[in-house]
Amino acid sequence: MKARFFCIMAAVAMAVPGLAMAEAESYEIDTSHSFIQFRIQHLGYSWLYGAFNTFDGMFQLDRDNPENSSIEVKIDTASVDSNHAERDKHLRDDDFLEVEVYPEASFTSTSLLLNEDGRSGVMTGDLTLRGVTKSIEIDVSMVGEGDDPWGGYRAGFEGSTVLTLKDFNVKQDLGPASAQVEMILSIEGIRQ
Protein backbone atom coordinates (compact mmCIF):
# COMPACT_ATOMS: atom_id res chain seq x y z
CA MET A 1 0.00 0.00 0.00
CA LYS A 2 2.74 2.37 1.00
CA ALA A 3 4.79 1.52 -2.06
CA ARG A 4 1.78 2.05 -4.27
CA PHE A 5 1.18 5.50 -2.74
CA PHE A 6 4.72 6.60 -3.48
CA CYS A 7 4.38 5.23 -6.94
CA ILE A 8 1.32 7.40 -7.61
CA MET A 9 2.97 10.43 -6.06
CA ALA A 10 6.03 9.93 -8.22
CA ALA A 11 3.87 9.64 -11.32
CA VAL A 12 2.00 12.85 -10.42
CA ALA A 13 5.26 14.64 -9.68
CA MET A 14 6.60 13.73 -13.09
CA ALA A 15 3.35 14.47 -14.91
CA VAL A 16 2.92 18.02 -13.55
CA PRO A 17 5.95 19.55 -15.25
CA GLY A 18 4.97 17.66 -18.39
CA LEU A 19 1.52 19.24 -18.32
CA ALA A 20 3.02 22.63 -17.70
CA MET A 21 5.26 22.21 -20.73
CA ALA A 22 2.26 21.73 -22.96
CA GLU A 23 0.85 25.12 -21.95
CA ALA A 24 2.39 28.52 -22.62
CA GLU A 25 5.29 29.42 -20.37
CA SER A 26 4.53 32.36 -18.16
CA TYR A 27 7.14 35.07 -17.57
CA GLU A 28 7.05 37.91 -15.13
CA ILE A 29 8.65 41.10 -16.39
CA ASP A 30 11.87 41.88 -14.53
CA THR A 31 11.45 45.63 -14.23
CA SER A 32 15.03 46.14 -13.14
CA HIS A 33 16.09 44.89 -16.57
CA SER A 34 13.27 46.32 -18.63
CA PHE A 35 12.70 49.77 -20.09
CA ILE A 36 9.78 51.65 -21.55
CA GLN A 37 11.48 54.56 -23.23
CA PHE A 38 10.37 57.17 -25.68
CA ARG A 39 11.95 59.80 -27.83
CA ILE A 40 10.40 62.78 -29.50
CA GLN A 41 11.81 65.50 -31.70
CA HIS A 42 12.49 68.86 -30.11
CA LEU A 43 11.50 71.44 -32.73
CA GLY A 44 12.90 69.09 -35.36
CA TYR A 45 16.45 69.88 -34.24
CA SER A 46 17.22 67.08 -31.79
CA TRP A 47 15.82 64.04 -30.02
CA LEU A 48 14.51 64.24 -26.48
CA TYR A 49 14.57 60.94 -24.57
CA GLY A 50 12.46 59.86 -21.65
CA ALA A 51 11.08 56.81 -19.93
CA PHE A 52 8.30 55.44 -17.78
CA ASN A 53 10.12 54.08 -14.76
CA THR A 54 7.32 52.14 -13.06
CA PHE A 55 5.41 49.37 -14.78
CA ASP A 56 4.76 45.67 -14.42
CA GLY A 57 3.39 42.83 -16.45
CA MET A 58 3.59 39.27 -17.65
CA PHE A 59 4.17 37.59 -20.95
CA GLN A 60 3.40 34.08 -22.16
CA LEU A 61 5.58 32.17 -24.59
CA ASP A 62 3.84 29.40 -26.45
CA ARG A 63 6.52 26.98 -27.63
CA ASP A 64 4.19 24.87 -29.76
CA ASN A 65 2.47 27.77 -31.43
CA PRO A 66 4.68 30.87 -30.98
CA GLU A 67 2.13 33.19 -32.55
CA ASN A 68 -0.11 32.48 -29.56
CA SER A 69 2.43 34.21 -27.32
CA SER A 70 1.09 37.27 -25.58
CA ILE A 71 1.91 40.09 -23.20
CA GLU A 72 0.12 42.46 -20.89
CA VAL A 73 1.77 45.48 -19.29
CA LYS A 74 0.49 48.15 -16.94
CA ILE A 75 2.34 51.46 -16.75
CA ASP A 76 2.26 54.05 -13.97
CA THR A 77 1.94 57.23 -16.03
CA ALA A 78 3.13 59.40 -13.13
CA SER A 79 6.52 57.69 -13.36
CA VAL A 80 7.35 59.59 -16.54
CA ASP A 81 10.94 60.76 -16.40
CA SER A 82 12.59 62.96 -19.02
CA ASN A 83 15.54 63.95 -16.86
CA HIS A 84 14.08 67.36 -16.01
CA ALA A 85 11.75 67.76 -13.02
CA GLU A 86 10.02 70.87 -14.33
CA ARG A 87 9.24 69.19 -17.63
CA ASP A 88 8.15 65.97 -15.93
CA LYS A 89 5.73 67.99 -13.82
CA HIS A 90 4.33 69.50 -17.01
CA LEU A 91 4.15 66.09 -18.70
CA ARG A 92 2.00 64.86 -15.80
CA ASP A 93 -0.50 67.70 -15.96
CA ASP A 94 -3.47 67.95 -18.28
CA ASP A 95 -1.49 69.36 -21.21
CA PHE A 96 -0.02 65.88 -21.64
CA LEU A 97 -0.68 62.73 -19.59
CA GLU A 98 -3.17 64.10 -17.01
CA VAL A 99 -1.99 61.45 -14.57
CA GLU A 100 -4.43 62.39 -11.82
CA VAL A 101 -7.30 61.34 -14.07
CA TYR A 102 -5.45 58.63 -16.00
CA PRO A 103 -2.93 57.15 -13.57
CA GLU A 104 -2.46 53.98 -15.58
CA ALA A 105 -1.70 53.11 -19.18
CA SER A 106 -1.89 49.53 -20.35
CA PHE A 107 -1.05 47.36 -23.29
CA THR A 108 -2.64 43.98 -23.97
CA SER A 109 -1.58 42.09 -27.04
CA THR A 110 -4.23 40.67 -29.33
CA SER A 111 -2.20 38.95 -32.03
CA LEU A 112 1.33 38.23 -33.15
CA LEU A 113 2.60 37.71 -36.68
CA LEU A 114 6.07 36.20 -36.80
CA ASN A 115 8.58 36.51 -39.59
CA GLU A 116 10.16 33.40 -41.08
CA ASP A 117 13.02 33.53 -38.62
CA GLY A 118 10.52 32.89 -35.84
CA ARG A 119 12.25 35.46 -33.64
CA SER A 120 10.82 38.73 -34.94
CA GLY A 121 7.51 40.00 -36.15
CA VAL A 122 4.67 42.39 -35.53
CA MET A 123 2.65 42.34 -32.34
CA THR A 124 -0.77 43.93 -32.41
CA GLY A 125 -2.52 44.96 -29.25
CA ASP A 126 -4.70 47.46 -27.46
CA LEU A 127 -2.95 50.43 -25.91
CA THR A 128 -4.95 52.39 -23.37
CA LEU A 129 -3.45 55.82 -22.77
CA ARG A 130 -5.18 58.89 -21.39
CA GLY A 131 -8.42 56.92 -21.38
CA VAL A 132 -8.22 56.22 -25.12
CA THR A 133 -7.94 52.60 -26.23
CA LYS A 134 -6.45 52.13 -29.65
CA SER A 135 -5.07 49.15 -31.53
CA ILE A 136 -1.37 49.62 -32.24
CA GLU A 137 1.33 47.56 -33.91
CA ILE A 138 4.72 47.00 -32.35
CA ASP A 139 7.72 45.64 -34.22
CA VAL A 140 9.16 43.01 -31.91
CA SER A 141 12.17 40.75 -31.90
CA MET A 142 13.72 38.35 -29.44
CA VAL A 143 17.10 39.40 -28.13
CA GLY A 144 17.96 36.17 -26.33
CA GLU A 145 16.97 33.63 -23.72
CA GLY A 146 18.52 31.10 -21.43
CA ASP A 147 19.49 30.20 -17.88
CA ASP A 148 20.64 32.97 -15.63
CA PRO A 149 23.46 32.41 -13.10
CA TRP A 150 21.03 32.39 -10.15
CA GLY A 151 18.84 29.43 -11.05
CA GLY A 152 16.20 31.19 -13.15
CA TYR A 153 15.35 31.20 -16.82
CA ARG A 154 15.05 34.45 -18.72
CA ALA A 155 13.89 35.64 -22.10
CA GLY A 156 14.27 39.15 -23.49
CA PHE A 157 12.73 41.14 -26.32
CA GLU A 158 12.86 44.54 -27.85
CA GLY A 159 10.13 46.43 -29.58
CA SER A 160 9.43 49.73 -31.22
CA THR A 161 6.42 51.64 -32.38
CA VAL A 162 5.34 55.18 -33.19
CA LEU A 163 2.40 56.87 -31.50
CA THR A 164 0.64 60.02 -32.64
CA LEU A 165 0.03 62.29 -29.66
CA LYS A 166 -3.30 63.57 -30.97
CA ASP A 167 -4.64 60.01 -31.21
CA PHE A 168 -4.51 59.88 -27.43
CA ASN A 169 -5.96 63.36 -26.89
CA VAL A 170 -2.71 64.98 -25.83
CA LYS A 171 -3.66 68.66 -25.77
CA GLN A 172 -0.29 70.32 -26.03
CA ASP A 173 0.86 71.11 -29.57
CA LEU A 174 4.63 70.80 -29.75
CA GLY A 175 4.86 71.72 -33.41
CA PRO A 176 4.83 69.72 -36.64
CA ALA A 177 8.13 67.92 -36.01
CA SER A 178 6.87 66.60 -32.68
CA ALA A 179 3.43 65.27 -33.51
CA GLN A 180 4.60 61.71 -32.99
CA VAL A 181 6.58 59.96 -30.31
CA GLU A 182 8.73 56.90 -30.84
CA MET A 183 8.45 54.18 -28.23
CA ILE A 184 11.50 52.05 -27.50
CA LEU A 185 10.71 48.94 -25.48
CA SER A 186 13.12 46.54 -23.87
CA ILE A 187 11.53 43.75 -21.91
CA GLU A 188 13.12 40.92 -19.96
CA GLY A 189 11.06 38.27 -18.19
CA ILE A 190 11.79 35.55 -15.66
CA ARG A 191 10.01 32.25 -16.19
CA GLN A 192 7.59 31.50 -13.39
Binding site: A78, H84, A85, E86, D88, K89, R92, D173, G175
Partner: protein, 189 residues
Amino acid sequence: MREVAKVLAWKNDAGGWGRASILLHWLSALLVIGLFVVGNWMTGLAYTDQWYVTAPFLHKSFGLTLFLIMLVRVLWRIGSVTPNPLPSHSRFERTAARLAHVGLYVLLFATMISGYLISTADGRAISVFGLFEVPATISGLPGQEDIAGDFHYYLAVAVMVLAALHALAALKHHFVDRDSTLRRMLGCR
Protein backbone atom coordinates in the same frame (compact mmCIF):
# COMPACT_ATOMS: atom_id res chain seq x y z
CA MET B 1 2.39 122.81 14.17
CA ARG B 2 3.76 121.05 11.17
CA GLU B 3 7.07 119.33 11.59
CA VAL B 4 9.89 120.86 9.62
CA ALA B 5 10.52 118.75 6.53
CA LYS B 6 13.66 116.73 6.89
CA VAL B 7 15.19 113.70 5.25
CA LEU B 8 13.86 110.50 6.77
CA ALA B 9 16.44 108.46 8.67
CA TRP B 10 17.49 105.01 7.46
CA LYS B 11 16.70 103.40 10.78
CA ASN B 12 13.33 102.95 12.41
CA ASP B 13 12.45 104.76 15.59
CA ALA B 14 9.56 104.52 18.03
CA GLY B 15 7.53 106.95 15.97
CA GLY B 16 7.75 105.22 12.60
CA TRP B 17 9.58 103.34 9.91
CA GLY B 18 12.98 104.36 8.58
CA ARG B 19 13.96 104.43 4.92
CA ALA B 20 15.42 100.93 4.95
CA SER B 21 12.23 99.28 6.23
CA ILE B 22 10.08 101.29 3.83
CA LEU B 23 12.27 100.40 0.87
CA LEU B 24 12.31 96.70 1.82
CA HIS B 25 8.53 96.69 2.30
CA TRP B 26 7.63 98.20 -1.06
CA LEU B 27 10.31 96.32 -2.97
CA SER B 28 9.01 93.00 -1.66
CA ALA B 29 5.39 94.08 -2.27
CA LEU B 30 6.25 94.84 -5.90
CA LEU B 31 8.07 91.52 -6.32
CA VAL B 32 5.35 89.48 -4.60
CA ILE B 33 2.59 90.87 -6.80
CA GLY B 34 4.75 90.65 -9.93
CA LEU B 35 5.75 87.05 -9.19
CA PHE B 36 2.13 86.04 -8.61
CA VAL B 37 0.91 87.62 -11.83
CA VAL B 38 3.79 86.26 -13.90
CA GLY B 39 3.57 82.83 -12.28
CA ASN B 40 -0.09 82.53 -13.10
CA TRP B 41 0.36 83.80 -16.62
CA MET B 42 3.47 81.81 -17.56
CA THR B 43 2.02 78.40 -16.64
CA GLY B 44 -0.64 78.87 -19.31
CA LEU B 45 1.66 79.96 -22.13
CA ALA B 46 1.58 78.12 -25.46
CA TYR B 47 4.69 76.15 -26.33
CA THR B 48 5.57 78.51 -29.16
CA ASP B 49 5.07 81.68 -27.12
CA GLN B 50 8.03 84.10 -27.08
CA TRP B 51 7.99 84.03 -23.28
CA TYR B 52 7.76 80.23 -22.84
CA VAL B 53 11.42 79.92 -21.86
CA THR B 54 12.17 83.43 -20.59
CA ALA B 55 9.22 83.91 -18.23
CA PRO B 56 9.99 80.90 -15.96
CA PHE B 57 13.68 81.90 -15.97
CA LEU B 58 12.80 85.43 -14.82
CA HIS B 59 10.19 84.15 -12.34
CA LYS B 60 12.83 81.97 -10.67
CA SER B 61 15.47 84.71 -10.77
CA PHE B 62 13.14 87.29 -9.22
CA GLY B 63 11.82 84.69 -6.77
CA LEU B 64 15.32 84.04 -5.43
CA THR B 65 15.95 87.80 -5.37
CA LEU B 66 12.85 88.13 -3.20
CA PHE B 67 14.20 85.42 -0.92
CA LEU B 68 17.38 87.42 -0.40
CA ILE B 69 15.41 90.62 0.19
CA MET B 70 13.14 88.84 2.68
CA LEU B 71 16.14 87.48 4.57
CA VAL B 72 17.56 90.99 4.86
CA ARG B 73 14.12 92.26 5.81
CA VAL B 74 13.65 89.76 8.63
CA LEU B 75 17.15 90.41 9.96
CA TRP B 76 16.55 94.17 9.78
CA ARG B 77 13.22 93.76 11.55
CA ILE B 78 14.75 91.66 14.33
CA GLY B 79 17.80 93.88 14.64
CA SER B 80 16.12 97.27 14.69
CA VAL B 81 13.46 99.09 16.64
CA THR B 82 9.88 98.30 15.73
CA PRO B 83 7.78 101.48 15.74
CA ASN B 84 5.05 101.59 18.35
CA PRO B 85 1.50 101.08 17.14
CA LEU B 86 -0.49 104.29 16.95
CA PRO B 87 -2.29 105.04 20.24
CA SER B 88 -5.58 105.03 18.33
CA HIS B 89 -5.13 101.37 17.28
CA SER B 90 -7.42 99.05 19.22
CA ARG B 91 -6.27 95.90 20.94
CA PHE B 92 -7.94 93.84 18.22
CA GLU B 93 -6.24 95.84 15.48
CA ARG B 94 -2.83 95.38 17.06
CA THR B 95 -3.28 91.62 17.43
CA ALA B 96 -4.75 91.21 13.95
CA ALA B 97 -1.94 93.24 12.40
CA ARG B 98 0.68 91.24 14.26
CA LEU B 99 -0.85 87.95 13.13
CA ALA B 100 -1.13 89.13 9.52
CA HIS B 101 2.49 90.30 9.47
CA VAL B 102 3.83 87.06 10.92
CA GLY B 103 1.52 85.12 8.58
CA LEU B 104 2.82 86.99 5.55
CA TYR B 105 6.43 86.32 6.49
CA VAL B 106 5.77 82.61 7.08
CA LEU B 107 3.66 82.16 3.94
CA LEU B 108 6.17 84.04 1.78
CA PHE B 109 9.06 81.88 2.92
CA ALA B 110 6.99 78.71 2.50
CA THR B 111 5.99 79.79 -1.01
CA MET B 112 9.55 80.56 -2.02
CA ILE B 113 10.92 77.33 -0.56
CA SER B 114 8.23 75.23 -2.27
CA GLY B 115 9.03 76.93 -5.59
CA TYR B 116 12.71 76.24 -5.12
CA LEU B 117 11.89 72.57 -4.43
CA ILE B 118 10.07 72.26 -7.77
CA SER B 119 12.98 73.41 -9.87
CA THR B 120 15.63 71.57 -7.87
CA ALA B 121 13.68 68.28 -7.60
CA ASP B 122 16.06 66.61 -10.05
CA GLY B 123 19.18 68.05 -8.45
CA ARG B 124 19.52 70.90 -10.93
CA ALA B 125 20.66 74.29 -9.72
CA ILE B 126 18.63 77.45 -10.37
CA SER B 127 20.24 80.20 -12.38
CA VAL B 128 19.70 83.72 -11.09
CA PHE B 129 19.64 86.02 -14.13
CA GLY B 130 22.49 83.92 -15.53
CA LEU B 131 24.82 85.57 -13.00
CA PHE B 132 25.20 82.70 -10.56
CA GLU B 133 23.46 79.48 -9.56
CA VAL B 134 21.69 78.42 -6.40
CA PRO B 135 22.40 74.70 -5.98
CA ALA B 136 19.82 72.03 -5.15
CA THR B 137 19.74 70.74 -1.58
CA ILE B 138 16.77 68.42 -1.11
CA SER B 139 16.07 66.51 -4.30
CA GLY B 140 14.72 63.22 -5.52
CA LEU B 141 11.91 62.83 -3.00
CA PRO B 142 9.04 60.77 -4.45
CA GLY B 143 6.78 63.10 -6.45
CA GLN B 144 8.76 66.09 -5.19
CA GLU B 145 8.11 68.45 -8.12
CA ASP B 146 4.38 67.67 -8.12
CA ILE B 147 3.82 68.00 -4.36
CA ALA B 148 6.02 71.09 -4.15
CA GLY B 149 4.09 72.46 -7.13
CA ASP B 150 0.73 72.06 -5.39
CA PHE B 151 2.09 73.72 -2.25
CA HIS B 152 3.63 76.54 -4.29
CA TYR B 153 0.31 77.30 -5.94
CA TYR B 154 -1.92 77.25 -2.86
CA LEU B 155 0.62 79.05 -0.68
CA ALA B 156 0.93 81.79 -3.30
CA VAL B 157 -2.85 82.15 -3.37
CA ALA B 158 -2.84 82.35 0.45
CA VAL B 159 -0.16 85.07 0.31
CA MET B 160 -2.31 87.10 -2.07
CA VAL B 161 -5.41 86.72 0.10
CA LEU B 162 -3.55 87.80 3.22
CA ALA B 163 -1.77 90.61 1.35
CA ALA B 164 -5.15 91.86 0.13
CA LEU B 165 -6.45 91.91 3.72
CA HIS B 166 -3.27 93.69 4.79
CA ALA B 167 -3.77 96.32 2.06
CA LEU B 168 -7.47 96.74 2.84
CA ALA B 169 -6.66 97.26 6.50
CA ALA B 170 -4.09 99.92 5.58
CA LEU B 171 -6.62 101.69 3.35
CA LYS B 172 -9.19 101.52 6.13
CA HIS B 173 -6.76 103.27 8.48
CA HIS B 174 -6.05 105.91 5.87
CA PHE B 175 -9.53 106.68 4.59
CA VAL B 176 -11.85 105.65 7.43
CA ASP B 177 -9.84 106.18 10.60
CA ARG B 178 -7.78 108.94 8.94
CA ASP B 179 -4.72 107.99 10.98
CA SER B 180 -1.08 107.86 9.88
CA THR B 181 -0.69 104.05 9.61
CA LEU B 182 -0.31 104.04 5.83
CA ARG B 183 1.50 107.39 5.70
CA ARG B 184 4.14 106.01 8.06
CA MET B 185 4.88 103.30 5.47
CA LEU B 186 4.99 105.87 2.69
CA GLY B 187 7.68 107.85 4.45
CA CYS B 188 5.54 110.82 5.41
CA ARG B 189 4.88 111.01 9.10
